[in-house]
Every structure is written in structure tokens, then in C-alpha cells.
Symmetry: C2
Subunit: 579 residues, 2 copies
Amino acid sequence: MSADLDKLPSRDLLAFQLFDWLDTGSGEERETLMAMIDATQRVAAEAFLPHYRQGDIEEPRLEADGVHVLPAIHQAMALYAQMGLFGASFPEELGGLGLSCTASLAIHAGFAAANVSTAGYPMLTAANARLIAAFGTPAQVDRFARPQIEGRWFGTMCLSEPQAGSSLGDIRTRAVADGEDELGGRYRLSGNKMWISAGDQNVSENIVHLVLAKIAQQDGGLPEGSKGISLFIVPKILPDGTRNDLAVAGLNHKMGFRGTANCLLNFGEGAGAVGWRVGGEGQGLAQMFMMMNEARISVGMGAAALAYRGYRQSLRYAQERLQGRAVGVRNGAPIPIFNHPDVRRMLLQQKAYAEGALALCLYCARLVDQGGEDAETLLALLTPVAKSWPSEFGLIANDLAIQVHGGYGYTRDFDVEQLWRDNRLNPIHEGTTGIQAIDLLGRKILLSDGRPLALLRDRIGDTAGRAMETAEWAPAAAALLDYWRHVEDVVAGLRALGGAEAYDDATLFLRAFGHGVLAWLWLDQVLHARGHADSAMESGVAFACRFFFESELPQADAWLRIVGQHGDLARTMPDEAFA
Amino acid sequence: MSADLDKLPSRDLLAFQLFDWLDTGSGEERETLMAMIDATQRVAAEAFLPHYRQGDIEEPRLEADGVHVLPAIHQAMALYAQMGLFGASFPEELGGLGLSCTASLAIHAGFAAANVSTAGYPMLTAANARLIAAFGTPAQVDRFARPQIEGRWFGTMCLSEPQAGSSLGDIRTRAVADGEDELGGRYRLSGNKMWISAGDQNVSENIVHLVLAKIAQQDGGLPEGSKGISLFIVPKILPDGTRNDLAVAGLNHKMGFRGTANCLLNFGEGAGAVGWRVGGEGQGLAQMFMMMNEARISVGMGAAALAYRGYRQSLRYAQERLQGRAVGVRNGAPIPIFNHPDVRRMLLQQKAYAEGALALCLYCARLVDQGGEDAETLLALLTPVAKSWPSEFGLIANDLAIQVHGGYGYTRDFDVEQLWRDNRLNPIHEGTTGIQAIDLLGRKILLSDGRPLALLRDRIGDTAGRAMETAEWAPAAAALLDYWRHVEDVVAGLRALGGAEAYDDATLFLRAFGHGVLAWLWLDQVLHARGHADSAMESGVAFACRFFFESELPQADAWLRIVGQHGDLARTMPDEAFA
């Protein structure tokens, strides 16, 4: 295998998770999918990977005619479009390839591992087109979704404003009704949008901005809160070929993830940017969040891919780098650092995090494909975990990848420092970890009817039941059930506590909940890996699973106990005592 | 207070830790020291802080005549020298200021918070001069230490080589005897040294390299292992004014800490670099490590200072940034994010880490000043903790500082991303965390006579005894004693296990040990903060201490249990299962 392909999720691992574990597709479909994965990974290795470092050094730059990105990104996008991948998971009648969500996410993982910044452009474009396909009129779909599915136009999501990051109810972008045409209700938009990834670039023929804004009331005021938010299609170039009234006000200079241009956009500095409403008035946030879930799983997969690549690169480094001797041995030649227990521990921990995160994201994609009420309910519960767990623990994995490299890992001669910087965005964008935590504990648990958690417990019970039938994994199954009883006790305590206080440790709860999910998924995988034809695969899954139960779950249990204590220190600490 | 001084350790906090807690100096000395801290912090704010970002952007560059650094670094060093600070902790008879180690470390904290890269130059210079002052002949001290104490010459430590990072026994730099002169035994050195911080610059008149090398034997071979290592003074400019035979072969391009030039040095490309031996043959490593302890505490303090600055900057940001509302509140104006419990938790955690790390380093410096066998033994035990704990947890604090800033924290418009990148070096240089762990568990505990840990337990028992007499802190005292009994049980188990296996989880042991030390130091501080004239100070210490006991120690207890299980997963995992 080439050294480059070695940085992408291995085909053996993907085959195990997709087929042996998640039972995706039938015989022939599997062959087709693996051929697709092979083909796309070659493109990822040849057209995305080589400019990984260059994209970090030569950031997008703002010139008089807009944002310019690396020529290598143009070439990568052209190849990506040629393969039809912008439409990977769209139905054939819309010009897509008709792949399942699981298959297209597995393909995305390869591109994200190769170059997470460049992979950001099609990821956002697909999310945009899917939203229009779901909620737009046939004319809107034809005009704005299809060119994105073909990869000729790219898309963005314009949510945040300088004064409204996480609190979208406070947005001030204004939409004034301006009649109606064949593309639907027409509006003139004005306002400033912040943190717009791919907000401008010189790659695609046009850019379709999906913009959250509030429709001005009769008195000229804007409705309060998030219920007044509507969604608008605002193309950079209007259907008549003229430029819409929107401008790039600036670029954000980020610590990492630099290949994806991140823009401050001003809409309507003149007569107002022309936009067409998608769906009903006031439906903007609900529609956006339905699609945001897809984006959140993609973010999680990006984080998983970065973690995986760091794992592979530090593994190879450890196998080649000679340094030191075994404890107690004074003479003889230096040995590969791979043989030092502490280095092996750092590698195993990375494996458990990275491959676990990959499994989590694919599991969620499988739920999308399965559909139906139960799968949707479970998906909604797991989405904040799929977004945040790979982001938080993938970052720790990348930190370990640096540490394995020692001083070399701190230099820009090796990729691991960039992986770490790139991954640091993931706990922030598309909803910070704190926001995910409130979503999980609030909407999905305390404010729900209890069904989401009950559904999850059923699946965990099922896995544990099967593990109980084996001598080897029965103790882990018992530990898993104990852990989830603990989770339920903590939830019951928080429910009884009620009020705002219940959310004091929401973030730690999310973390502990995520570890419980990962322990379950590792145990479930291990049951499917037993007797695998590839004994190294069986063994790798088994060791990662045992590591998770021996070294991770006991820590998570401590987190649960802390949450269960309902401590109020941070909230009650006097303001002046922080000084 | 100016916004700039607000980024440096607050005088109230330093006064509390230095005087109320550590009982440093008497009344008048305290006033003098505080005046000194005020004066040096002004210099730090005016001459070190302003080029913090610039030093990151404009890295040192290698030109034909050597390495060039920012003009601002020249100016900062000139001011630093004018104040006599290169000689801060040297005795007056050597031209120093005669400050205690504690005082000079408190002063260093201000410079490190302002600009950790620029502060690296004098930090290394002082460590170099102290080594020569301790082991050199009077002629060597006059010739090579005094100009450094005056700040005219700078110093370096040349240990690592491309093939020998952590395993110094494998170094290949060769020293061939070349007679003797008034400066001692003279040698010709040849070899390559890697990772040399401040290895070249255009600031000081001369550079004194302290070089570890092996003296060639009669047969031309080099002695094996670390016992054959000697220490040599190798100046860039020889006493006769000619250039010594050494060259900068390259600069390392780091992720952070960029203001400190990091060089690959080639010694003896021609007739051999002239060097004078310091101390006896084969004493090199022992001498170096005596001084390395000082460098390790300084590294810890640098990490603590970065953590502290991130805490302060994210605190100020949180107080000013308006976003969202309290849970359950839908209307009204956005509130400062400082009022959100999750943000307050991230701030309190930073405070507990940053101020705890500062306390740990000052405590160790106080042991240096106290001297005597007990203090030295305890210092040796705590040094790996003082190096690693602030490095590991200060980095987590900086990660939280980014998260408090949200998307803004990921841009280079705010300092927190640079603080995080800068701090990432600290778990690597001057001995990685893994190396510190083996030092703690091996040399300081399992291979010692047990006295170091017994001494520590005495001090902990003393603190707990005093806490037991208070109603408020008796439960924490009991938890602390429980925790340390657990540590001792784990140590006994590892001792019984014996062999290399005992070190499998040395890194996790170090982490848990460090948390136990920090819990102790927080409890000890809280007892000295009771009834403090400044009620905000008393309250701040109390909340940080309670946080540490409620939220940190339970996690550390889980780490101890994991270590105590003597798991062998990483060691026994088949090599091919990592793939």
C-alpha cells in the first residue's frame, strides 16, 4: 500500500464496520461500494492529500474580485465533480449517484482524512442542496439544488452574525417582501453574516447561500426570538446573470482548517440582496436544524478522520523511530519506540478513540438509511454525541499523535501538529460542545417523553444480552449495564432537580453519556469481530474494546458521579472571586 | 489596572501565595520584592507583551551570518539586562541581585505570561550560568558565567542529537583531548546537536554552549551509555576573538513558541570546536541533571503562566461578550456569557489549574531556598510533577480558554490560540511527560529507599491535620488522606509486581500523583486564606479548592484504580493488531 493511502481509513476497517458490523448492503452492492471506496481514496490521495500543508500555508486571500483559493483546490473539486460525488447520496432522479448515507459518509471519511479543509466545500454544498431538495419548490430544486448536485455551484449555510453566534434567536438580518416570481416568494435581504465557511471562493460558477433572516413586520420591526426566523436562498449570481447585492466584508484568519475560506458576508449594502423564501414563514430554524443534523454527523466524521490519520501516522513513526531500550536494559542497539509500553498505550488509546469515533458516525448514518420512527428518534438522541464525542476525543487522539512524535511532532515538518490545529475547530463550529450538551440533556432527554433514552437502552440491552452469552465478554456486558443504570439514575436525579440547575454539568454529562455510547458500540463491534477471517482485525477490535472498558469507562463513571452530586460551585461562586 | 498588566499574574495572587501561604521573606523584604515584581511586570507589559503575536508571525530566520531575531527581542533583552535580571538569583559576589529562587521564579512568571518565547532566552542563560557557577573552575566562572549574569552573553544547553532525544546515553558527539590551558582541560568537539533552543541569535555578544559529549578513548571509540558523558563549555566566539568551529545547520519550524530560535548545530565541521571540560570526566549527565531540575521547574512555571494568561483573557472576554439568556428565559436582552453556568465552569476549571500550577512551582522554588536534606529530597520527588502537571493541565486550561471565546478563539485575532500552541511544547521539551513519569515512579519512588514519599506524606498529613480542626474543611482532609492511602496501596502493588511491568502505566500514575499533590496544595492554601483581609481572595481560593476536591480528585481516583489493576493491554497487544 502506498504511504499516502495509509493515511486514510483502511479498506479492511471500513469493510469490517460497514459490512460485518453494520450489515450494509448485499453481496454485490458491497463489492460495488468497496470499488467506489477504493476509487475515491485514490482520488483523495492524489488530489486532496498533496496540498494539505500548502493549504495551511497559503490561506485563501481576498482580492478585488472576491476570494481566491489554491489552484490545487480547483483541481481537486473538478475531479470530485467528475466522479459525480457532489451528488453521492442524492437520488438518481436529481442527478445523484443514489448512494446510501452510510456509503457516502464512508467515502467522505477518506476525503476528510486526506484534506479536511478541501473536503469542506463539497460537504457544505451537499448539505445545502439537500435542504433545498427537502423543502424547496420544484422550481427552486431545479434552479438551485441541481447545479450543486452536479458540482458546478457550491453552497453555504449563513446562520451566525457578529452579535449572534450560538443564540440564533437574536439574528438581525432583515428580509423585506418584494413580490413573487416563478422561484417563489421574493425578498430583499440586508444584514451581516459571520463565520461563513466557503462564504466565497473562485472555484464554482455560482454560490448558493442559504440564509436565516427575519421577515420585517408591518411596523418595520423584526419578530423576537427564534420562531420568527425564515430561510432564504440568496445566490451570488442572480438567474439573469447579474451579481446579487452581497459582498465579502472580510476573511477570518484561523489557527487551522485554513483551506476552507471563512468569511464575513454583508448582504444588502445597496438595494437589498434578492432571496427566495424556502418553506413557510418562521420555519427557517426548524428546516435548518433538520439538515444541521447531517452537517453535525459530517463534522463528527471529519474529526474522526483527523484522529484516524494522526493514529496511523504516529503508528508508522513509532515503528520506524529508534530510541532507547526496554526498562532495565542498558546495552544493545536502540529499539523502535513502538516497543515502549507508554508509546503503545498512546497508540492504543488513539485507536480506541479514532476507530470508535468512525464507528459512531457510521452507526448514525445507518440510522438515517434505516429510517422509520425508532431510527429517527435514536438518531436525534445520538446526533449531539456524534458531533461532540469525535471532536473532543479526536482532538485528544491528535494530541497523543504529537506526543508520540516527540519534538518532531511539534515541528511543521510533520503533519500531526496541523491535524491537531485543524481538529480544534470541531468542538466549536456547527454548535459548540456546550450547545450539544444542552441539546442532549434538554431536548433529547429531560424535555422528551423518555422514549429516546428507552430506545437506546433497548439496543444496549440487546448487545449486552448477546455478550452475556460469551464467557469472554460477559464481564464487559455487566459493566455496560451497570454503567447505563448509573446514567439513568443520574438522569432521574436531574429530572427531580428540575429547573436551570439541572443543566449546570450538562457538558460533563454529554461526555459521560458519549463514553457510555462508545463502550456499547465497541462491545457490539467485538461481537461481530469474533471469528473474523483476519485475526489481526479480530484482535485489534478486541484490544480496543478491552482498553475502552478497562481504562475509559472507569473515568466516565467518575464523571457521572460528579454530575450526580449536583454541585453548584461554578454557578454560586461570587463574580469577584474569579478575579 | 491596565489591560496589559491584567494578563500577568496578579500582584494580589502573588502576594497571597508568596507571603500568606509560603511565608517568604520578612516585612521589609516583602515590600522590596513586591516593588520588584511591580517594576518587572511593567517591563514585561511594555517590552515583552507587545511583540507576542509578532514573534509568532516573524520567526527567527537563518542568514549567512547566523540567526536573526525580531528587533523587539533585542530591546526586551536590553531592558532585562539593565534591570540586572539575568543575575536575579545569583549571589552578589558573582554580580547577581541575590534574590531567592522563589522571588526570581515569581518574577519569571510575569515575563513568561507576557511572552514565553522571549523569556526563554534569559531563562536558558541563567540555567547555563548556574551550572558553570556550580561546577566550573574560578577561571571558567569568571570567563563564561559572569558575562551571562550581566546579560551580555547568552547560554544554551546542548543535549539532544538527531538520533538521541530522550536517550542521552546514545549521543555521539565526540571530544578529543587537546591539552590544557588556564580555562581547564581543552578538547576538540565534533558532532550534531538537535533542538537547541536559543542555539543562535544576533542579540548577545557571544553564546556559551554547554555541550554533552563523550571523550574519545585510546582506540578512538566512544564509551557506551550515559556514564561516559562529560560536559563542555563551547563558546561561539573564542577568548581570542575568533569564531569557534561550529555552525547553524538549520532552524526548526515549530507550531508555537516561535520567538525562541530552535537550532540544529554542527560542531567541528573543520578542525573541531574548542571546548573546556566542566567537572570530572563522565560527570556530564549528573551535573546537567542537577541543573535540569531548575530548568524543569521553569518550564512548569512557563506552562502555568500561559494557563494563567488564558484564564484571565477568557474571563475578561466572558464578562464583555453578550450572548444568549439564562436557561428557560426567552426574552430580554442577551446576557454576558460569564453568567452561563457552563462558561463559569470552564473559567473555574482554568483558575484551579492555572493558580494551582503557579502554587506548585512556587512551592518547589521555596524548597530550593530552604535547602537541607529533607527539602532536597522532597524537591527531587516533586520536580517531575512541577514539570509535567502544569504542562499537561495548563494546556487543557488553554483549550478551555479557546472554547470560552467560541469561534473568535479559533482566529488569530485573539491570543488564546497562540497560548495553546505555545503551551503544547511544554509536555515535550526538557524531558517529555513520559520521561518525567519514569523518573517519578522509578528513581524517586520504586528505586528509592521510600523516604521521598514518606516525607511528602508527612507534609500532607500535617496539612490534613490542620484542616481536620476546621468544620468546613475536615471532609476534604479526610478525602485527601484516603486518596494518599490509595496512592500508597498502588505503589505497594507496583513494588510487588516488580520488573518492567511496573512502568506500564507510569504516565497515568504521574498524572494521578500530580492531582494528589495539587489537592494537597489547594487545601494547604485554603487554610492560609481563611480570614484573609481580601474576601474575594479568600473566596476564590476556597472555590478553587472545593472544585478540585469535588470535580478533579474523583477522576484522579479512577486513574489510580486503573493503574492499580496492572493492565497489560498495550504491552501484550499483538503488533499486527495495531494496523
